[in-house]
């Protein structure tokens, strides 16, 4: 390739003129965007503030003083949600990977397990999470089994893990199936066994491919840990509920919602960026 030197280049008068036009177009677009944003958001705010019930809503939902007062208890509850998310997330990752591998295996010894894994995914993906939480949370202690904890935090986590591992298993499985058979053929023709082919060739590529959808599920997981509050776990949602029912002021709910958003919005932004990078990388790679 020949040496390309850009330092000696100075734009022609034609190019300078074009750059000027581009700047003018740009300024105009920024101006239009600003005016339209102001109009739309201003109208919305106006409608809200001038509505007949605004004063009541403001004092029962947006009471800043009361918000500050309940903030410590709500954030203590949120810490429970975060713990559930990370501990549950780790368990979900391990179980889902196992399920996905079982569902894609062709090994005859594993046939019964493949069948069980399929049934498991069907059941836990098909039933509403809130029902699973209630069934596990109230059903398991009723069994009276020795050695099984009846701690509601533990049982709530188990219920969330049961449901989410079914979802995540399907995401990982779709990643495994998306790897072109020629990759498997290449690995097998080098003498790698089917297990080695999965471990060194298929799985690393599959996992990389499903990281963005998995991040998406992780955000959902954080939100859904709020559902364990129905078992009486004092998480952020439950803490807000207790305060709200004590005073009939709903500001604690708004505080909890804002706290969740403060965590989930950066996470979703990061996920979007990861998806974009993945798409760009793939188009650069061509067909793979």
């Amino acid at each position: 390739m020949t040496e390309r030197n850009n330092s000696a280049w100075s734009p022609s008068s034609r190019e300078l003129e074009r750059q000027g036009s581009r700047r003018a177009i740009n300024r105009k677009q920024v101006f239009i965007a600003a005016v339209s944003s102001l109009l739309v958001l201003g109208t919305l705010a106006l409608v809200l503030v001038t509505s007949p019930g605004w004063q009541t809503v403001k004092s029962t939902f947006f009471d800043v003083e009361y918000g500050k007062e309940v903030f410590p208890t709500v954030i203590r509850g949120l810490w429970i949600n975060l713990q559930l998310t990370f501990i549950g997330g780790a368990a979900i990752g391990v179980i889902a990977l196992g399920l996905a591998l079982l569902r894609t295996t062709k090994s005859p010894t594993l046939t019964p397990f493949r069948f069980l894994a399929t049934a498991y995914v069907d059941i836990f993906r098909g039933a509403p999470l809130i029902l699973i939480i209630l069934l596990v949370g109230f059903g398991v202690p009723a069994l009276g089994l020795k050695g099984i904890s009846s701690n509601v935090i533990f049982l709530g986590t188990v219920a969330v893990v049961l449901t989410y591992s079914a979802y995540v298993a399907e995401v990982i499985r779709s990643g495994i199936l998306s790897i072109h058979p020629s990759q498997r053929a290449a690995a097998r023709s080098l003498g790698l066994s089917s297990g080695q082919t999965m471990r060194y060739v298929v799985l690393p590529q599959a996992i990389r491919r499903v990281v963005p959808p998995l991040l998406n599920d992780f955000v959902s997981l954080l939100k859904d840990t709020g559902l364990v509050s129905i078992l009486g776990v004092t998480d952020a949602v439950r803490a807000a509920q207790i305060n709200a029912s004590r005073t009939f002021n709903y500001t604690p709910y708004v505080v909890a919602a804002i706290l969740f958003l403060l965590i989930t919005i950066p996470m979703t932004r990061y996920t979007d960026r990861a998806i974009r990078q993945r798409t760009n990388a793939q188009s650069a790679e061509g067909a793979i």
Binding site: A186, S189, L190, S193, Y200, V201, A284
Partner: protein
Amino acid sequence: MSYVLELKNVRKSFGEEVVLNDLSLVVPEHTATVLIGASGSGKSTLLRCINLLETIDDGQILLDGKEISDPLINVDEVRRKLGMVFQSFNLFPHKTVLENITLAPVKVQGKSVEEARIAAKALLSRFDLADKADQYPDRLSGGQQQRVAIIRSLAINPRLLLLDEITSALDPVLVNEVLSIVRDLKHDGMTMVLATHEMGFATQVADEVCFLESGNILERGSAEAVLRNPTNPKTQEFLKRVHQAGRL
């Protein structure tokens, strides 16, 4: 004389379509057998059957006199003796060039990582790719990728090399850098079976040329005999078409 590879009356069909029909072939040591024929004549299927990526419906395949078409055989052990290079390279995109090459020696042959790396680097320098060792495949040109794929298959010291139209996916200017490796290997005495559309190249390396049509070998012999003086009318017709396409 003993053969590295022997095919006896091999038959393979996909559903109703018979792809290989009573096909027999012998490949002596240090020779190159070139398969020519139109797309769909069974060349790729034949190579995939030899590598046990497809199971045959009837007949026998023998490697060094041992039947490998026996369903009770350990397929991984057979494949360790066979190198296969594909039309579409099939490098592992998540591994560097060096990792692509050392994967099988380390995981299959049980070599130490260090030992495998030294051997891989020696092969890379031999084929002028030493500076690409730590690159990922998508940073390489098609020709470079295919050369790495050949080196990857050589790293397991195969008894027999199977090359499936390895230049068909390449830009014409990149074809020669790939074919010159194959010429080198032939010079070193590597036993190989290759499917190709490059007739000039076939003339240079082939000890035997086989013309496949509808799953059978219609004509076989030296490159001189089959490519210059074909006797079968179907071979003549095929070569005429290749000639018109400017590939001879």
